[in-house]
Symmetry: C2
């Protein structure tokens, strides 16, 4: 069963084609999982295999063209895409290149994601071969154009994100049962993943965190076998999915007791989130929201580099809550609020909530964290 009604994809294509027209592009070309899925509905974990490249061409008028390895044909035929061109991959010397060249023929200006947060998910040598073979085509950066489309979520997308945020909130509500002193951090992670699956998550692709007395050093590490101890602050940051849509928020817990610095840092981060919630409205710029949070933290800095970001098909998406991002918030955007600060030398704390920008106050998709550091 497709994740969305066909009208959802028609609307996505329509918005993309309007943007292409405005930017005088003849087509958009994609090599990456998120964009292929956004425009076609083609959802598979098989992207984890780096072996085969996958291509999608969206013409400024007309239907999408999927140029993909044969192994994906059956799944692609289950989507709304009709124009599916396949080759037997891996191929000794032409892994989709000629099919792509043929499809690009006569298209003068083709948008490709080349900018911030993008990557080229195909061999660079093949990309260079293509640019050499279709000399009448100019590839131009379409990163901001595509990000602007994906940033504003449809009701159906919001429903998925809201569902997975609810599932993760339910799992966090069981913290008292799941986490305990003496438990190795990796066992805490494992228990939480199982709780998320049991609560209805399809997958738990992302779980990171840290634990330590009064704070943690790092927010991207895998867990070790060190046992949780009284006085530790445990942070778990979860990216679980449903229908391939992510939540991305964290929770902090102390074991037995917490020192005053940790309690105070928690409070500061909680209040910073409150201030952001009070300000997050359509028309406000991302860098203004960043400034609001930064002001609450009173110069406290961490190494995270920003105070929130978009999410959806990917764990993190544009925009960023950072000083240089002038994206104007719109109703339908889903973002994280993620203040972080250094508590002591080498120790940080991070809070994170997921919210939907609405006309009026934002809607919390994650269940709001407690206003004081919970003690387990």
């Amino acid at each position: 069963m497709p994740d969305f009604h066909i009208s959802e994809f028609e609307q996505r294509l329509d918005r993309a084609q309007r943007a292409m027209k405005a930017a005088q592009l003849d087509a958009l070309m994609f090599t990456t999982e998120a964009e292929m899925r956004y425009f076609t509905g083609f959802r598979t974990l098989f992207w984890q295999s780096p072996t085969r490249p996958w291509f999608l061409l969206l013409p400024v008028a007309g239907a999408p063209i999927a140029i993909i390895p044969e192994i994906g044909a059956t799944l692609m035929r289950s989507t709304w895409v009709d124009d599916i061109r396949t080759w037997s991959s891996p191929h000794p010397n032409d892994d989709g290149v000629s099919l792509l060249v043929e499809a690009l023929e006569g298209r003068g200006s083709v948008g490709l994601m080349m900018g911030r947060e993008s990557q080229l998910r195909m061999p660079l040598a093949d990309y260079q071969a293509i640019t050499n073979r279709v000399r009448s085509t100019e590839f131009v950066d379409a990163t901001p154009l595509v990000q602007a489309l994906r940033m504003v979520k449809s009701d159906a997308e919001i429903a998925y994100i809201s569902t997975i945020c609810g599932i993760a909130s339910t799992a966090f509500d069981q913290a008292n049962k799941l986490f305990f002193e003496g438990q190795a951090l990796e066992q805490a992670f494992r228990a939480f993943k199982i709780a998320l699956l049991e609560a209805g998550a399809d997958d738990v692709p992302y779980l990171v965190g840290g634990a330590g007395p009064g704070g943690y050093g790092d927010v991207i590490s895998p867990p070790g076998d060190k046992p949780l101890m009284a006085g530790d602050v445990l942070m778990l940051d979860i990216g679980a999915t449903i229908a391939g849509y992510h939540c991305d928020f964290d929770r902090n817990f102390a074991f037995g007791h917490a020192d005053d610095d940790a309690k105070q840092a928690y409070k500061t981060l909680y209040e910073a989130t409150n201030a952001a919630l009070a300000m997050a409205r359509p028309g406000v710029k991302c860098n203004e929201l960043y400034g609001c949070i930064a002001g609450e933290l009173d110069g406290g800095v961490s190494n995270v580099g920003r105070y929130g970001h978009g999410l959806g098909l990917q764990l993190t998406e544009a925009p960023s809550l950072i000083g240089f991002d002038e994206t104007v918030l719109e109703a339908g955007m889903v973002i994280t609020l993620e203040p972080s600060m250094e508590v002591a030398d080498g120790k940080i704390m991070v809070h994170e909530e997921n919210i939907l920008i609405c006309d009026g106050p934002p809607k919390l998709l994650s269940k709001r964290a407690p206003d004081e550091l919970p003690i387990l």
Copy 2:
């Protein structure tokens, strides 16, 4: 605790530097997760966020240089890498580019993965900016060089792969308890993921499969809510991890009864695997092993495109068991044997085992599948 002793990384670097010398390269430059992890031990799920680029430079002599966002500094400092250069990322206009340019200065010939199975995990525009700024550096394709290094696993790598294959085998042994008629396929997937975590897997990044009367149409689809029915053949293909090392094998089960075509196809695939096991020895080429399997399948074709591949840090790695891959098998390589065939129009069946190439017969890392299609 690091995943490997420091001597493991010293050996990996030593092998890389010998290969660089032989290829007259002054350095290797990496942008991708698997290679960063292979040479530094830097393991994090944070790569799922596309926001920040990460770079590693291995000089032909001397120590590795990690050029990474500040958010990764703490974790990178826990590895054996000492030369860590960071910047605050996301950055308004210089996301690591200047640091990378500086580190490339004076290096004439730099190997970059540009070929088969590779991708450029950084903005293409930034890559183009770098090539424009370091005009005295020539970037050359180092894909085969790097793949040749990673293909042959160390004892410590083999131990991780063997462990996760054992865990997945244990989980598959519980099939009778986990899967049942009337169960929605997505519930079967969820139950299997929980069983894998309970059996000791760190993560279950990859689980795909299919179910249908007498076979399945596709081997890369996510599960739907259709209930399993008598006569269905269920296939689950699992990529679980421990310390970031994968297993990748599948199992087939029938519910209640199986038709003769499905039983016969299972037998044919089982025998094809046996033939490959009898032939897989150091000195044999991948395309010879491919030919052996193809011969057993007697012209049966599927859309998979190859009959096996390497695995380890990634779910799939070089080499490929395919007609054009002339890689010579060596002791220490870990590969899948993955014969597949069309059972009926639009229906395929796939078998998969994970093996270690040894002097003498290969070692099965996955517990050998039963010789007849198991009926649940």
